[in-house]
Amino acid sequence: MTEIYRAADWNMMRPGPGGAPDDDAAILTTIAGARDLIAWGRGNAVWPMTFGLACCAIEMMAFAGTRYDVDRLGSGAFRATPRQADLMITAGTVTYKMAHRVKRLYEQMAAPKWVIAMGACTVGGGPYSKYGYHVVQGVDLVVPVDIHIPGCPPRPEALIDALMKLQELIKRRGSIEQQASIADAVRKGQMDLMNGMAPGKNSPPPAAPAAGASPAAPKVSVAMPAKPPTLTAPGAPKPPSPPLPVGVKLPSMPASGAPKAPSPPKPYVKPSATSPDVAAPEAVTKDATKAAAAATAAAEGAAGSAAAESTAKKPTGPKPPTVKSTTEKPFGPPVPYIPPHQR
């Protein structure tokens, strides 16, 4: 841990609009490990927004209530305004009428911000998928989602588990760049879906901007963020990637060594059980490559993403579509979470 980073880079690399440089954080850049400190602070004080949509909101209240008492995790400060909140828990069915408000609320939140999709409806339409002419088939078509929770409704324990996973995600620095590439792929897949194509097929050329790339693109773009802003000039080298500690083996890396950069992207493989946390990247990656499969599985009445995942992971099933452009970075293997005392 000898390298020193601008703490603001951490903020910048995260996918999401409006990652403005954080002056206070920039002051701290002279201190080694400031990023650790900031990540620790952010992870332990995630303030959710008071934002209930439907039935799941009642379980969210129970999660804040007497028995489950989320205050002990540092997330008891439910904010009524999105300006003060870090976390949006989309608890309940998102409808077309509500989707634009959900999107606007997300945009009103100050970065860095996170989203937990709570319940089967927000994962993929849930029980309303088949005949629900007014139900959005998953909130990830509207805002980027960090954690999905299946269940109808999920128990408060599941929400607590998701919150703890999110805290680890926030504290783990290695996953940020990976998240950016995943978010890019998700956005591409969504554009394909909206153009009536299978995700990953006939992707628009990588040079073109995301929204309005093709004439068939709809007027109102889906709320996926634009490309993650970077501090560097276009010609300048990329910001340094987060370090990997020496001697730590990456779990799903092949034995022959790291894959070369221009090699064709591989479908995401669930890392081995030695990785201490796999749920968060798994949940995100599921969207990137298998959004359509998940949506169909949910449409056929599968109870949440667990069933969708099992459908998508069948070896005989259709292979996940690959991203065509070679300039894009393929999905790297997930970087394991290293506890602070081992760094």
């Binding site: 077309y96 009428k97 989707a99 634009h100 339409g125 998928s129 088949k130 005949y131 629900g132 002419y133 007014h134 959005v136 088939q137 078509l141 509207v142 969504q190 394909d192 879906l193 909206m194 009536g196 194509m197 299978a198 995700p199 097929k201 709809p218 007027k219 109102v220 773009s221 889906v222 359509a292 499969a293 949506a295 169909t296 449409a299 259709p318 579509p321």
Partner: protein, 200 residues
């Protein structure tokens, strides 16, 4: 009072405009002609013998050729109930007089019926969509309505299924090509491809 007794009162006043009285153990109703519908409702509300203060529910049923507007009335003072039915002229001319001036409770019910079923209520002061967005196309509870492809750029389940079918069809074509065959020689594969292309 039973439905028959109330229907007798109505017949006494509106004669042949009471088209039908059906009484079964499950459900009973009185079918009225549209032109006396509002007057009959006023009579039912104001007459001391019937005293229907409350409009409990108002909805419509899509019978393909026409719509039935179904009204359920309850009286708290007399503890009896009544179901009224009115037929719209046709499917294209789906109109029924509004009873909002008689019971303000009908306001939202009629707006909902217009929104979801597409039955117009002339005389309603504020007939706008209530549940769906203002710019929604169609009336989804009609029997011939399906799921939307997209709404403001958000793909619906129909679009996602189309994309899925595209993917499946292309997989099938590739599978046939890998075996060295002509994809269109496969009747199933060709059919799926044609169908999907026709839709897209």
């Amino acid at each position: 009072m039973t439905t028959q007794e109330i229907a007798a009162l109505l017949k006494e006043r509106f004669q042949d405009k009471v088209l039908e009285v059906v009484e079964t153990d499950r459900h009973s109703h009185v079918r009225l002609a549209p032109d006396v519908y509002v007057a009959a409702c006023e009579f039912l509300r104001d007459d001391e013998r019937t005293a229907f203060e409350q409009l409990h529910d108002l909805t419509a049923v899509d019978w393909i050729d026409w719509f039935d507007v179904v009204v359920h009335l309850f009286s708290i003072r007399k503890k009896h109930s009544l179901c009224l039915k009115v037929k719209t002229p046709s499917r294209d001319d789906a109109t029924c007089p509004s009873v909002t001036p008689v019971w303000p409770a009908a306001d939202w019910h009629e707006r909902e019926t217009w929104d979801l079923m597409g039955v117009k209520f002339p005389g309603h002061p504020n007939l706008r969509r209530i549940l769906l967005p203002e710019d929604w196309q169609g009336h989804p509870l009609r029997k011939d309505e399906g799921n939307p492809l997209e709404y403001h750029g958000i793909p619906g389940i129909a679009a996602i299924r189309t994309a899925e079918e595209n993917l499946r069809a292309e997989e099938l074509v590739k599978k046939v090509q890998r075996k060295g065959g002509d994809p269109h020689a496969n009747p199933l594969g060709g059919e799926i491809v044609e169908r999907v292309r026709g839709r897209a």
